[in-house]
């Protein structure tokens, strides 16, 4: 009988844990929806708050493990270190993304969630120059007894929707996505979306709030 590969052992581990990963993502999504409910009900007609969740796909989890270490040239799992690999090392098996528009609502959502997930580790999404684009946190659901970790991020909606398209188009070509040219193009889009969002906020403020009167 041929020897089982590390990948096959990890696939088995993934599917053993899949029901648990699903429970974590449902729990995290439900909690986040509940905690942000007061904000949702107070939104103005043009404002938006959308909660999305996903379970990391099996092959995507394997790819992440292969790419985990920058030093892993060839992106191969070393058969000599077979026992050291586990899908449970991935912090984002269960993920929730909160998309918010406009940006001033993002701060409110972030602060609200931080109150309810106090022990979670902050690791914001940053652009190539190190500027934080969106808050992101890793941790474990307090009332679930599991080794499966979760991740949630609060993202400006325009940026989040751009990332959905960009990530799915560029994921396979991740190495090219890190080329100077692609980094520049991505940065141009991110900055433009940020400026557009600021413009909308100013526009709405100018047209919906009465001008301050000085006596």
């Amino acid at each position: 009988m041929p020897k089982r590969s590390i990948e096959d052992r990890l696939r088995e581990e993934y599917f053993d844990f899949l029901p648990e990963i699903r429970r974590v993502v449902w729990q995290l999504e439900a909690e986040i929806r509940y905690y942000t409910l007061p904000i949702l009900h107070s939104l103005k007609p043009y404002e938006q708050l959308v909660v999305k969740s996903r379970v990391k796909e099996c092959e995507s989890a394997l790819k992440s493990l292969r790419r985990e270490s920058k030093q892993n040239e060839g992106r191969v799992l070393d058969p000599g270190k077979s026992g050291t690999y586990s899908i449970l090392h991935l912090p984002d098996l269960a993920g929730v993304r909160v998309l918010v528009f406009p940006n001033n609502r993002l701060v409110e959502v972030d602060e609200t969630l931080r109150e309810h997930f106090p022990g979670w580790i902050s690791k914001p999404v940053k652009d190539d120059s190190g500027v934080s684009l969106a808050p992101k946190y890793y941790g474990n659901c307090a009332n679930l007894d599991t080794w499966v970790g979760g991740e949630y991020q609060v993202v400006p909606m325009l940026l989040g929707l751009f990332w959905e398209v960009e990530h799915s188009a560029m994921y396979k070509f991740k190495e090219v996505a890190e080329s100077p040219r692609m980094k520049q193009l991505r940065s141009d889009v991110e900055q433009s979306l940020g400026r557009f969002e600021e413009g909308i906020e100013r526009f709405v403020q100018d047209y919906t709030e009465p001008p301050s009167t000085t006596s």
Binding site: K63, K70, Q71, E73, G74, R75, V76, L77, D78, P79, G80, K172, F173, K174, E175, V176
Partner: protein, 76 residues
Amino acid sequence: MNKDILRKANYWFDFDRALFLNRATKKAFSLEFVDDKPEDEILQRIDESTSGSGWTFYFNSPPSEGVRRELERMLG
């Protein structure tokens, strides 16, 4: 640029493995090696003759025996 040099020498990029490969010469360059080394070293490695029928891997850190076997199995 190193990547252009490799492309001109008929190397293609395997996105899953992040390797520049040439099946005719059975040489594989890791992305990290290509990023870190000067152009003249890349040119020298492309031109050098290799012994044996197996693959030659140009990595910053030489691959372990297990990784080498795994890569050779995948590359055929």
